[in-house]
């Protein structure tokens, strides 16, 4: 079997295990390429039937408008259910406190809204698009990753995961995060998107926009970012390699307008995908610490 067929078959198998083992699963959808790929795989796993889970989006309120537009278009096309958890609501309820200062981001606040949404709907499994090649703590995480009642990941108490037998047994209140594309690399995802002709939000492709220099990276000059006179704002041809919140996702210089250009760019790149994520640069264990708190 070709390597993409192999990865696809494995992911479909994992999605069906979620459907078979859990009462009330959900697919965490961010509007990024990895979760869009998950949706495509879910179609292969369950069509012509309906998805046995809704899509759940945790909206920071600082998302790229193109992402939200794409999300709504996709959901309409699919005819599946979408649930949105709003970070703004968590802030309004006093459960999450907005960061202050120039580098303020709602990225860490998502965890609060995510855990609230899981509790509110009683989800026992949440499918996510995280990959092991993204980050070294993720490289250690199981495909079925158990979270305790507080949403926390305990890297020292992970269940052994053998062959393709996934233990989804949990106590009430716990939930499992499931990562069907754990074994895919960034390049695999792009090659698959090309092979399957999967539609993506426009910001993944080169476009012109105002960007502002922050900590050596170009960020979209958006209202969510505090921009003052000292800031350098330029109009550049850029694209986004990874799509999160506008406050933590940096753009890369690019003229890639087609998938082939993007694939060539990634092959030639000497910086990793998460090199453009400010949220990972806080400390060496930034991702591990956030995951322990209940992050995606």
């Amino acid at each position: 079997m070709d390597y993409l067929d192999h990865l696809e078959a494995e992911a479909i198998y994992i999605l069906r295990e979620v459907a078979g083992q859990f009462e009330n699963p959900a697919l965490l959808f961010s509007g990024g390429k990895d979760s869009i790929t998950l949706v495509h795989l879910a179609k292969k796993a369950f069509r012509p039937g309906k998805f046995p889970f809704p899509l759940v989006h945790i909206d920071t309120g600082h998302n790229f408008p193109e992402t939200i537009e794409f999300r709504d278009w996709l959901v309409e096309q699919l005819g599946e259910k979408l649930i949105v958890g709003h970070v703004q609501e968590s802030i309004d309820q006093g459960k999450a406190i907005e960061q202050k200062g120039k580098n303020a981001s709602r990225n860490p606040l998502q965890t609060v809204t995510l855990l609230d949404t899981i509790e509110k709907y009683g989800f026992d499994a949440c499918i996510g698009g995280a990959r092991r090649d993204e980050e070294k703590a993720r490289a250690k995480e199981r495909i079925f990753s158990v979270r305790d009642e507080f949403g926390q990941w305990d890297p020292k108490r992970q269940r052994p995961e053998l062959w393709s037998i996934f233990n989804g047994k949990i106590h009430k209140g716990e939930n499992v995060r499931v990562f069907p594309i754990s074994n895919w690399t960034e390049l695999d995802v792009w090659n698959y998107i090309k092979r399957e002709n999967i539609a993506l939000p426009s910001i993944y492709f080169s476009h012109e926009r105002d960007v502002v220099l922050r900590n050596g990276q170009w960020m979209a000059a958006a209202p969510a970012l505090q921009i003052d006179n000292e800031d350098i704002v330029e109009h550049k041809s850029v694209r986004f390699r990874t799509v999160g919140d506008m406050t933590c996702t940096a753009a890369v210089d690019s003229v890639a307008t087609e998938l082939d250009d993007i694939i060539a760019e990634i092959k030639a790149s000497t910086v990793s995908e998460r090199g453009a994520r400010m949220d990972d640069k806080v400390s060496e264990a930034a991702m591990e610490e956030r995951k322990k708190q209940g992050y995606f």
């Binding site: 079997m1 198998y13 078979g20 053998l162 233990n167 060496e284």
Partner: protein, 414 residues
């Protein structure tokens, strides 16, 4: 292009991390910001070179203690193949992590320090390779630079290892003399070992043939029943699952277990496209010619070579829990899509994992490997490990903690 999944066994002292680091580095799989992070962490080997283990030690506790505790998965790719490395700790107290990594690998690289030869750890890792039915064993005799690239040292180790392999019944063993630190025989053939006429490690990994053993049978554990229940697809009823074994095709006569009902494959589907056949590992939807009651947990198999359905059977078990295996407790056996209550009827013996000697009258504790007899609450559908390894495997779950406490492979019916 296909995928090769392999595990590296050995401890830090054998140069395991150096070997993986070199494979990643020399295939340009380490990017600038990752290298920068390594340099920032400022961890150095004794000889002043950058410690590449930090790439695989993803947890804070591992970096603090300088040891690998859990399996890490690493990915790299060349023009010819995509590789998935399970980097597992080699020490005896992490046997369960190694078993976890090995269970999803086709090939194992066993590292031997040229100065030390075949040691206890080599024997343990080789025993596990046999137990888990890995398809290929590659022995890398490392640190050849420390023994002056002496061919006699290499030949002696090869002879010793082949004797061990013979005793264990390990087939398909290959050897390469290397120096991971200096890069000899890793990507290119070394000009300091002209007496060696085989492939470099990377050439070997790119070309080694991992053929599935012909089983003459296939199994299709049903994961999910697709029933759209819409007006135009009113009678649609498809069984979703992943093929194990030789592959299935339209027209095959099948038996459904545990019910024993027979039928034929009417159609095979992937993503709403009809296929003529489905091969090993493919996730598809199968339709049968007869309208029969099938749900998750049932297994569809070729009628000519059906699997076994038994309540009492003997298994080799690897134990993962801090609490020893308890003969008075009920456990859950999960194999593919079924979960069955079981009890342990008898503990036959356990192995000394270093010498492979059997020890009788004993209990089974963390990291132990032994043979036990299981009594199940209902019929369990499986094959014997020697006939069809993929359908002989299962895990044990403690219903009180929900933890995965053991892994087993069915060895015999009782």
């Amino acid at each position: 292009m296909n995928i090769l999944k392999f595990i590296t066994a050995g401890s830090v002292d054998d140069g395991k991390s150096t070997l993986i680091g070199r494979l990643l580095y020399d295939t340009n799989s380490i990017l600038d910001d990752q290298l920068e992070a390594i340099q920032k962490a400022n961890r150095k080997n004794n000889d002043g070179t950058v410690d590449l283990a930090i790439l695989t030690d993803g947890l804070k506790a591992e970096r603090e203690q300088g040891i690998t505790i859990d399996v890490a998965y690493k990915y790299f790719q060349t023009e010819k193949r995509k590789f998935i490395i399970a980097d597992a700790p080699g020490h005896i107290q992490y046997t369960r992590n190694m078993i976890t990594g090995a269970s999803n690998s086709e090939l194992i690289i066993i590292l031997i320090d040229a100065r030390k030869g075949v040691i206890e750890q080599t024997k343990r890792h080789s025993f596990l390779a046999k137990l888990l039915s890995l398809k290929k064993v590659l022995v890398c005799v490392n640190k050849m630079d420390m023994v002056g690239f002496d061919p006699f040292v290499y030949e002696k180790i090869k002879t010793d290892y082949l004797a061990l392999a013979d005793r264990l019944g390990l087939e398909n063993v290959d050897f390469i003399p290397v120096s991971a630190l200096k890069g000899d025989n890793i990507v290119n053939r070394s000009d300091r070992m002209t007496w060696y006429d085989g492939l470099s490690l990377l050439d070997y990994l790119e070309t080694v043939n991992i053929a599935d053993k012909k089983s003459h049978s296939w199994r299709f554990p049903v994961q999910w029943v697709v029933r759209p229940q819409t007006d135009d697809l009113h009678d649609y009823r498809g069984y979703a699952g992943r093929v194990l074994g030789d592959g299935l095709k339209t027209g095959d006569e099948v038996v459904v277990l545990p019910s024993g009902v027979r039928s034929r494959i009417a159609r095979v589907e992937l993503a709403e496209q009809t296929l003529d056949q489905a091969e090993n590992g493919q996730s598809v939807i199968v339709h049968l010619t007869d309208d029969i009651d099938i749900s998750r947990g049932d297994i569809i198999a070729n009628a000519g070579h059906p699997p076994l359905a038994e309540r009492n059977f003997e298994v080799n078990i690897c134990w993962f829990d801090n609490k020893p295996l308890d003969k008075n407790q009920v456990y859950l056996l999960q194999n593919h899509t079924t979960v069955t209550k079981i009890k342990v009827a008898d503990i036959h013996y356990k192995f000394d994992v270093n010498t492979q000697e059997k020890q009788y009258d004993t209990d089974i504790q963390l990291n132990d490997i032994g043979k036990i007899e299981i009594k199940a609450a209902g019929e369990v559908v499986f094959d014997l490990n020697r006939d069809f390894p993929e359908n002989s495997q299962g895990i044990l779950i403690d219903p009180r903690t929900n933890l995965t406490v053991g892994a087993l492979m069915v060895d015999n019916v009782a």
